[in-house]
Symmetry: C2
Subunit: 453 residues, 2 copies
Amino acid sequence: MAQNGCEHSERVLTMDTMNPNVKRVEYAVRGPIVQRAVQIERELNMGIKKPFTEVIKANIGDCHAMGQKPITFFRQVLALCSYPDLLEDSKFPEDAKSRARRILQAISQGIEMIRQDVARYIERRDGGITCDPDNIYLSTGASDGIVTMLKLLVSGEGVSRTGVMISIPQYPLYSAALADLGAVQISYYLDEDNCWSLDINELRRALQEAKKHCSPQALCIINPGNPTGQVQSRQCIEDVIRFAAAEKLFLMADEVYQDNVYAEGSKFHSFKKVLFEMGPEYSEKVELASFHSTSKCYMGECGFRGGYMEVINLDPEVKFQLTKLVSVRLCPPVPGQALLDVVVNPPQPDEPSYDTFIKERTDTLATLAEKASMTQEILNQVPGIKCNPVQGAMYTFPREGTSSRYVLLYEASGRKRHLFGSWQMTILPPVEKLKIVLAKIKEFHQHFVEQYS
Amino acid sequence: MAQNGCEHSERVLTMDTMNPNVKRVEYAVRGPIVQRAVQIERELNMGIKKPFTEVIKANIGDCHAMGQKPITFFRQVLALCSYPDLLEDSKFPEDAKSRARRILQAISQGIEMIRQDVARYIERRDGGITCDPDNIYLSTGASDGIVTMLKLLVSGEGVSRTGVMISIPQYPLYSAALADLGAVQISYYLDEDNCWSLDINELRRALQEAKKHCSPQALCIINPGNPTGQVQSRQCIEDVIRFAAAEKLFLMADEVYQDNVYAEGSKFHSFKKVLFEMGPEYSEKVELASFHSTSKCYMGECGFRGGYMEVINLDPEVKFQLTKLVSVRLCPPVPGQALLDVVVNPPQPDEPSYDTFIKERTDTLATLAEKASMTQEILNQVPGIKCNPVQGAMYTFPREGTSSRYVLLYEASGRKRHLFGSWQMTILPPVEKLKIVLAKIKEFHQHFVEQYS
C-alpha cells in the first residue's frame, strides 16, 4: 500500500512502515471530542459568539482542572522539598517541615523509606495484614505500573498469544496498552441492570470464548469502577479470587479510587485484604498486582504522576526481571514520590496540620458524595435517561433510552448513536457548573425526543 | 522447560511464560555492581570495618546525588508553583514569581505555552532557524521520548525486522529499549584512537553487515557522547546527515549534554541547525528527532523527569499516531514541565535573579570543566592507563592497557577482564572526592601491575 510517486513514499517512517500495533491503539480521553472542545474554548476566548458562553469539561478525572483545591499540607511539603531554604521560614508548620526533612534525607539515600512508608500504609488499610516493602514498586502514576505488569505478561504467538480479561465499559488505558503490546483483549461485560456489578458467569463466558483463539493469562479489575462508578461487594471480590485461582489467572486490581466510596452500604475492600482473609489456599497461591496513585481520591494530584504497585506471590526470578525493567526507565518523578510519601504518611492527631488536613479531606470527599447523588438524581428525573447510583469513583455512565425506540429515534435524526446512547461523565465540575451541565443534558434530551418522536 | 512438580510451575507468570523480550533487556546502570555498592554503604553505616571508609559513586550522571547544587532560581519557581500561597511572600524575587504565575496560568489552560517557550529556546540556540511548537513533544525525561520514537519505528519480521544503529560504547537505554521492543541492534564502534570520534566508514561497514539480516531504519547519535565524552565536529555531523539521507535512515539525535562542552576548540552543533544549514536538499527530506532533558547540563535535575523532543519532517499521519501514543500515558509530570519551562526561559539581564543565575550556571559548568581536565590528566599519568580528553558530557571512558600484555595479566590474575579493561566513570563527584577516586584507581592499577608482572 505504499503511495509510490508521492512525496510521502520518500520518508523512512510512514503509515506503511510504522509499528502496526501503534495503529491499533485507541484512546478517546484525548481524542477528537476533547480537541474540538479546546478549539471551541479558544474561539470563545477570542470573542466569537456561540449559542453558549463556556465549555464545562466533564470528560476526565482531573480533579484540580475541575476546580477542586489541592490539600494544603501536601503542597507545603512539596514546596519545602523543592526549595529547602524554606525550612527556615516560620510560616510553614513544623510537621510539614519534618516530613520534608525526612524526604530530603531519604532521597539522598535512595528512596527505600518511601516504600517502607507505603507498606505501613497498606498494613493500616488492611487491618494489619503484613506488607513487605520489597513487594512495593513506585511508579509514574498507576498507568505506568499497569503497563509494566501487562508487558511482563505478554508472550506467545497465534493461539498461544497472551489474552487479558478487561471489563467493558473500560478505562481506555487497558485496551490501548493491550493493542500496543499486541496482546489479545478479552472483554467481559459489566451488568448495567445490576448497578454495573461484575457477574462471575459473564467472566466464565468470556474466558471460554477466548480460549479458542488465545491463551488467557490475566484478569484486570477496576474497583471502585471507572467509568461506571460501582463498588464491588466483599462477596464479589471473593468470587473473583476463586475464579482466578481456579482458572489460573494473574489478578490485576486497579484500586486508585479506594477512598472514593459514597453510597450507603458500600465499602472499599482491597483485593489484598480479601485474598489474605480467604486463607493460605488462596493467599499463598494467587498472583496479584494492585495499583494505587496520587491522582485520584481526595488528593487529585494528577500532574505529579505518583503511584505504586504491590505484587503478591510473584515468582522471585520474575521479580528480578521486573526490577530490571523498571530500572531502565530510571526512577519515577521524585516530586511524585515525595507526594506519595505524604499521602501514605499524613498529619497525625498530635500534629499542628492535622485539623486542617482532616477538614480539607472530609470536605473534598463530602462534596464528591454530594455531586454523586445529585448527578444520579437529576439524570433519573429525565424520562428516557437511566442512571445507576454512583457508588464510588468519580464517574457516572448513564444511558439514553431503555428500549429500541431510542435507537430508531437516533437513526431518524441522522446522529451517530454511539455518541449519545451511553456516555461517561465525571462528577468533578464544581456543584454550580455540574448543575448547568445536567440541566443542558436534560434540555437537549427532551428537545431531541420531542423533535424526532 | 516448565519445572513440573515444583511450586513455581503453579504460577501463571514464570520465567517460561514471561514476555521473552524482557529477559533480553540488559541494564547495567542499576545492576549488580550498584546493588553491591549500596550494600557496602549500608554495612559501613552500621559500623562494619572495611579497608576503606566511604563509597564514592562514580557510576551515574546524577549531578545532585554527587553533591552539585541545584540552581536557586529553578527551585524557587518550583516551590512557588507547588504552593502558590508563597506568591505573597516577599522573600521570593519578582522574576521567580512572574514565571510561577505564568506557569500556573498555563497549566490551567493545558501547557501549550511550554511548547512555545521550548520552540523559542531552540530558535535562539540555532541562530534563528524556525522551530514550530507543533513539532515539540514534552516527555518524561529524554529516555521516554527516545523509547517512544523507537516504538514507532519498529515493525516487520525476520529479515524485514527493523534494525537500529547505535554507537558502542553506548548508553544502555538504547540496547535495553531495542531488546524490549524486539528490534535488531546494529552496533557501530566509535574510534577510541581518535578521541572516540564517529567514523563514517564504520557506519557503512555496520550498515552493510546488518542489511543481511534486518531492515535498517534508524541511526542513533549521542552528542556530546555518553559514555565517551566526545563532542562531534560540524563536519562529522554533516557527514552523518549525508549518510542518513543516502541510506534512508531516520536520525535520532540524543543531545541532552548540549551545554556540557569543555575542550578548547570543541563546540556543540545541533543536528537541527546543521541539517537546515545544509539546504533544502537535506532539510526538507531527512527525518530527525532530537532529544533534550532537564537532567543534565548545568541543571542536573534528574529527579523531575522533564524533557522534550523535536521532530522534523515527520509524516503528518505518523505525527497524529505519535500524539495519540503519548496521550495514552497521560502527561509527563507537571513539575518537570514547569522546570523545563524555566530552563528554556531563564532570568534575563534586566531581571533581579539574573546575576545569581549566571553565577551559578557559570560556576557549575566551570567546575565540571575543571574536573574533566583533572580526570584526564591524572589518569594519563598512570603508566598503562589511556584516557581520551573529556571534550564534553560528564564521563570518561579510560582503558587499562594498550597492548595484549594487560590482557594476559588479567588472565593471570583470574579477574574478569570486562570489569577492568575499559570502564565508564563520571566526573561528577566533588573535586576532593574525585581526587580520592582517581588516586585509588592509580594505586590499584600500579599494585595490580606489580603483583602480576
